[in-house]
């Protein structure tokens, strides 16, 4: 195969350390273009920008890192890169390396995953990759995982409409136990709202909470990562609950 064309994006913004790590990794295996948000866009879900125009600005940084910053969401970045910035369709879209895992219920809040979903929807094999730490700059394990999984996807492809959601444990490369192919588990963020009063006497609320994950099977994304495995989940956004179609039909026929 000639050098594959790889589009890199993320949700932490173009100046985040994770996207530079991913750029370094992908530069070893292909021709890389970076198109990423100009600001942090965590927890934006699959938002797109329809009421405001988008700005696209070339970015150059030390070490040869270059790309385009976009005044929009991760999904916007994937869209505008593929539709307007790139001269030809990329062979792969890879989004990350996110600061913090994207696991269980939280997948649907994830900007990182949404950018890869957008790539998938535009017919391009796509990967989301996240590191299970909000503080680490230890990207060696995640970079090696990104290279291995990107090579795999470039060779075998993925089914239409499906992307790979990869989560890498927070540990030294030699502490990683291997790879587990996993399902979206039941991890969720048990949130609550803390009520405060501002200096002007007005009330405001902060969302806060903690992660709950009671999955005990290594077939689940959260448990695999906790046990120092790289978790790879094949995910898609076919949202119909097929198993309930029949019952619901019978209800409405009888009315």
């Amino acid at each position: 195969m000639k050098n594959p064309k790889i589009l890199i994006t993320n949700d932490d913004g173009i100046f985040a350390p994770g996207i530079r790590a991913l750029w370094e990794a992908m530069s070893e295996i292909g021709d890389v273009t970076v198109v990423a948000p100009n600001t942090e866009q965590s927890a934006v879900g699959h938002a797109i920008t329809i009421s405001d125009p988008l700005r696209v600005v070339p970015v150059k940084r030390s070490g040869g890192f270059e790309g385009f910053s976009v005044s929009g969401t991760p999904a916007d970045c994937a869209k505008i890169a593929i539709k307007s910035i790139l001269m030809q369709k990329p062979d792969l879209v890879i989004s990350g390396i996110n600061s913090g895992a994207n696991i269980g219920t939280n997948i649907i809040y994830s900007g990182t995953v949404s950018a890869a979903t957008e790539g998938t929807m535009l017919g391009i094999p796509s990967i989301a990759i996240s590191l299970d730490s909000y503080e680490s700059d230890e990207y060696r394990g995640a970079k090696q995982a990104a290279i291995n999984i990107a090579k795999h996807v470039l060779r075998f492809g993925v089914p239409k409409g499906t992307l790979l959601n990869v989560n890498v444990p927070y540990c030294l490369p030699q502490e990683i136990n291997g790879v587990k192919i996993t399902r979206q588990g039941h991890q969720y963020f048990k949130d609550e709202f803390e009520k405060r009063t501002d200096p002007h006497g007005r009330t405001y609320y902060w969302m806060k909470g903690k992660i709950i994950d009671e999955d005990e099977s290594l077939e689940m994304d959260g448990k695999a990562v906790r046990e120092n495995y790289i978790s790879i989940s094949p995910i898609h956004f076919s949202v119909t609950n097929e198993s309930y179609m029949g019952e619901l039909k019978s209800h409405f026929l009888n009315e």
Copy 2:
């Protein structure tokens, strides 16, 4: 059943005509609380607000309409209503009536659906309801549909993790052909970016495009609505592609 407690939200904002129509409809069958964004939040997907505090402001309007506006997304509204504003868990969350259908691929961009999804995730039977028009103020058909389907859900419940995504055709009530239980179809927004230059000589881009829907089966959401049926799709966010798990495992075992 005693008067059910119904939480109403939306993504077009608390001052949109669709939420007032829904408030009128739901007031006929239960005790209603409205908690909705203070501004329009279309296409925000499942965004939540984690880096900014939220403000909650009581709103009163003519005709007895009252509720709380929130400086956040539809998912924020459902969360803060259930966790902080309401004294007890509601029996039903209903989001809408959205201006414009939420069908096919576009379901994942939908703030209307995300608010109902949040209700589902918090264990409450939930409905998203949208009208297939961006301009109409003809809500009679949609109001009647909202009442019928809400009564159904209050009586029968929905499976854990599943919500009903309802789309109402844009026509007079007497022109509605009935109800179809449908699947998420293949409708998508074929978008492109129009490049313009601002008065300062700088480039910007507008996202634009058109809806493509080639589904021909009345079992698909888009086709059902085009044929003047009320479409009800049971949807969930179990995103694992189970059918690809085995093949993916075999790849990584062989490496």
